[in-house]
């Protein structure tokens, strides 16, 4: 802290009888400072310690399956708790596909809302809407799951899935009976849950686009939409990308809502209407039922894989946002 050191060196005071007392007083303040600083430092460093401990515990407690299956754990499709033969591919596949589908829906929707809020809506309406959209992120994931089970699943089974099978049924992506639950349903719920992340960050970035850029486009005769397309969007591209990665990090680790609507079948199916399974969902469903050490540790290894993937995705997102504006505080 530069505050405590004076920038101009003071002339040393002439020795006087009062000096020793002054010095004790000062050094007692210094003692308190050292104590307080180190106390907060210890608490701060234990945060670092916890982050390391999470990684270490996941690694340490997944030793059995790492020795039993090696790297092929990540590429095998078998999931047989009775014979204790495990492979994580269906879960990795399900996690990646459901999150990717969710992004396909959430990016246009989220960026669209952000454009509306930043460009069209009056300032007051815009901040009120932003407030409401942040509420969407505050709703607990298990409540989304409840809505998913009792509203979205029947809706998908009766309307959306038969419609998709009728119109796009010639594609293997839309084959099969309409269960209601499945990859697509999970992706819809996930999309709703991650839209607020994309919208909130994108809106702030749109609002920070220099007015001169927009005025330049307007002066050339651009319509308002052309201003958005030619000046606002290119300027904010990397910021949007950053928000998308953060949203993806959230989607990959999302547990409850997905578990309740994805159907929980550990197989890789071509159809998006078929049930699937994700890494987070298998942990939620099977962890308390796992009886043998190998089974539990296999689930912990799935947790480790999920941990590594989400950390990497989040790091990329933060790096993009940080590079764009090193002074902005990240969320």
């Amino acid at each position: 802290m530069p505050l405590t050191t004076a920038s101009v060196p003071l002339p040393s005071p002439p020795p006087s009888p009062t000096l020793p007392r002054e010095r004790t007083k000062y050094s007692s303040g210094g003692w308190g400072d050292t104590l307080f600083k180190n106390l907060t430092l210890i608490f701060a460093l234990s945060i670092l310690g916890i982050a390391l401990a999470i990684a270490w515990e996941l690694y340490k407690n997944s030793a059995l399956p790492r020795h039993a299956f090696g790297w092929s754990f990540l590429t095998r499709q078998i999931w047989d708790p009775v014979a204790e033969d495990f492979g994580a591919l269906p879960f990795i596949f399900g996690t990646l596909v459901s999150s990717a589908l969710a992004l396909l829906m959430a990016i246009p929707l989220g960026v669209g809302v952000a454009i509306f809020l930043a460009e069209l809506a009056p300032r007051k309406v815009s901040s009120a809407c932003a407030f409401l959209i942040e509420l969407l992120a505050a709703i607990p994931s298990v409540v989304y799951g409840l809505i998913g089970i009792f509203v979205l699943v029947p809706f998908m089974r009766v309307y959306v899935q038969p419609f998709l099978m009728k119109t796009l049924g010639f594609l293997p992506l839309f084959h099969g009976p309409a269960y209601g639950v499945g990859m697509l349903t999970a992706a819809v719920i996930l999309a709703i849950m991650i839209v607020p992340f994309i919208t909130t960050i994108s809106r702030e970035i749109f609002l920070s686009v220099p007015i001169a850029l927009k005025e330049a486009a307007m002066a050339l005769g651009a319509t308002h939409w052309e201003v958005v397309r030619l000046a606002v969007l290119p300027y904010s591209r990397s910021g949007i990308a950053g928000s998308v990665f953060l949203a993806l990090g959230r989607a990959l680790g999302e547990t409850m809502a997905v578990t309740m609507v994805i159907g929980n079948r550990p197989e890789i199916m071509a159809s998006l209407l078929a049930p699937g399974y994700t890494m987070a969902a298998v942990l939620a469903n099977e962890f308390t039922e796992a009886t043998s050490d190998l089974y539990v540790q296999t689930l912990i290894e799935i947790g480790l894989v999920l941990f590594v993937i989400t950390i990497a995705v989040n790091a990329i997102g933060r790096l993009i946002l940080y590079k764009m504006n090193p002074h902005a505080e990240s969320h």
């Binding site: 405590t4 608490f43 809302v113 950390i311």
Partner: protein, 283 residues
């Protein structure tokens, strides 16, 4: 010339109409979720829900009194675990941690913890608390939720302390106060409202978490004594009841969802109203 202009005008109107539609859809979903939960929750809510224990499987009626108390116990425990770490860590970052290695590492690990999926946090609490104790406990659930509190507490504390103008610190230092007293007696009281806001937002976020509790606090159909026994919580009850085959349990899941939503949204909105006033004062 005329047609190009028309086309561009048309494009302009269509594109903005579409963005408006996006906003309508998103807000529509929010109001639908809130309205649907309120409607179904209210019609299932009864006095019994707040005062009675769950009935055995197969019997109708009963309530979730133990889960409501359990949720608050878990949040209290999580605050004890997470908030001291988060707030003191945040104080370090704001006051001593600018541009040094320790500051960078701590900020980075807070980000990492923030990105850890909640279910993985559950595994961590399972390995460090449940495995050594050999049984599920409220303590394990509190540890899982408490660690989830840390990143936001660190961030919000740091940001709100940074909002305190340098001149105020300099004035206090010039009066001869040692730096730690300046922080404890001047900087923290000045930003108290902001710190409270951050903490409330943080608590509202974790109080709806289900995944970290599934195999730490586990669940309990009776009252849970002390901190070392499995304990029931609203989010886990909602999950258990929602995936069950019983009509009456579904009804109770909606009631629980309404109560949980009230707790979470009241804290969240309250905190943000507080923050709005705070920002006005600072600006």
């Amino acid at each position: 010339m005329q047609t190009t202009y028309r086309r561009r005008q048309w494009m302009n109107n269509t594109a903005f109409a579409l963005t408006g539609l996006c906003a309508l859809i998103t807000l529509g979903i929010l109001f639908f979720v809130l309205g649907y939960v309120t409607y179904h929750g209210f019609s299932s809510l009864s006095w019994d829900f707040f005062t009675k224990l769950p009935k055995p499987v197969g019997e109708t009626g009963g309530g979730m009194a133990n889960a409501i108390v359990g949720t608050f116990k878990l949040i209290g425990l999580a605050s004890l675990v997470g908030l001291p770490l988060g707030v003191l860590g945040g104080i370090y970052l704001a006051e001593y941690g600018k541009g040094n290695t320790a500051g960078f590492l701590v900020r980075y690990s807070a980000d990492v913890i923030n990105g850890v999926p909640s279910i993985v946090m559950g595994i961590f609490a399972y390995t460090v608390v449940v495995l050594p104790m050999k049984h599920f406990s409220a303590l394990a659930g509190g540890v899982a939720l408490g660690i989830m509190l840390i990143p936001i507490a660190v961030r919000s504390t740091e940001e709100f302390l940074k909002l305190v103008p340098m001149a105020i610190r300099e004035a206090a230092l010039a009066l001869g106060l040692p730096q730690w007293k300046v922080i404890v007696r001047v900087v923290i009281p000045t930003s108290m409202k902001g710190l409270l806001t951050g903490v409330l937002l943080d608590l509202s976020r974790v109080s709806g978490e289900t995944a970290p509790l599934l195999f730490t606090a586990f669940g309990n159909r009776y009252w849970s004594a002390g901190w070392m026994n499995p304990i029931s919580s609203l989010p886990v009850m909602i999950f258990t009841y929602a995936v069950s085959p019983y009509e009456d349990w579904h009804r109770q899941a909606w009631a629980a969802a309404l109560v949980l939503l009230m707790i979470v949204l009241a804290t969240n909105v309250g905190a943000r109203v507080l923050m709005r006033n705070q920002v006005k004062v600072v600006a």
